[in-house]
């Protein structure tokens, strides 16, 4: 019994510290159903893109490859998450 108590205490001590509000998950529903997921997004080479030099992008590197997600394409509820794959890793481009 004592041993289990020790184990429980150890697990508690090792548990990552969570912000208090994690225990208080009360989401509000604002849309009747989920928005269709974006998968296989259109990706082009830099020279084939029509993006202004001054536009802000979110850049990612993975598996030796680099990809940019222009923020001006990621705004609005329908664009908040892009399911993509880069350098062999499945990533969610979201901002």
């Amino acid at each position: 019994m004592k041993r289990y108590f020790f184990l429980a205490a150890l697990l508690y001590a090792l548990a990552p510290h969570l912000p208090a509000q994690v225990e208080n998950y009360q989401p509000k529903t604002v849309l009747a159903k989920p928005i269709r997921a974006i998968t296989n997004p259109p990706i082009v080479k830099a020279e084939d893109a029509s993006i202004d030099d001054s536009e802000l992008i979110i850049g990612v590197q993975s598996g030796g490859q680099a990809r940019a997600y222009p923020i001006n394409q990621l705004t609005g509820p329908s664009r908040e998450i892009i399911n993509d794959t880069l350098g062999g890793t499945a990533i969610a481009a979201t901002w």
Binding site: V30, L31, A37, K45, A46, S54, L56, I58, G59, W95
Partner: protein
Amino acid sequence: MYVRKVDQQTLTLRVSGKLWMRSLVMSDLETNSEWSHLLGRAMAGKLKGKVLEPIVTDMMTWAAWKKEFPQTTVLNMRRTSAHYTRDFYRDASMFVFGFEVGGETRALPMSAMLKSPVHQFTIGDETLLATFDKKSTAARLFDSEVDGNVLEFTQLDERLMQDKQTGSRWRIANGEAIGGELTGKRLTPRVGIMSFRRAWQNFHPDSEDVAF
């Protein structure tokens, strides 16, 4: 930005239609678990308690990114906004660069980063370096340690900083040494998120601003 894989299962994430603390809740097609966008944590459903691994990202101008990675590919969808860059510069105090270190959350106020683009600070036993490149709008967070030595950095000019220990010169924009003894070395990047201050505070009420 996250790796969308948990315990060998690849997830397809979408906008759930729910908000929590005024911020996006994602749900995955595979299990319909609900994920906090900002925490990367499943809050409900089969995967409750699982955490998505965040990826290092850089926010900067398209010109600067192309220059650094000429082989880059880019998302090519219709624009949903054209205002983001303008908004950022109109009121940088709306933004923080948030991160986690040793289980604690901290925020770098972007208004302070604009004035002081090379900023070194210590949290616990870690000495971190935050940089902001005005030209490309890239904010970055790095470890200050190189080959086991903590280096102290000061800004030289718009583009370069220098470490006190070896006098090497480093690019502010990407933490690469381009002159001196350490030429070719790169500082190790850390995950940081450019966030609206309000959203960051909602999700990390214990977060403190890094002192400038």
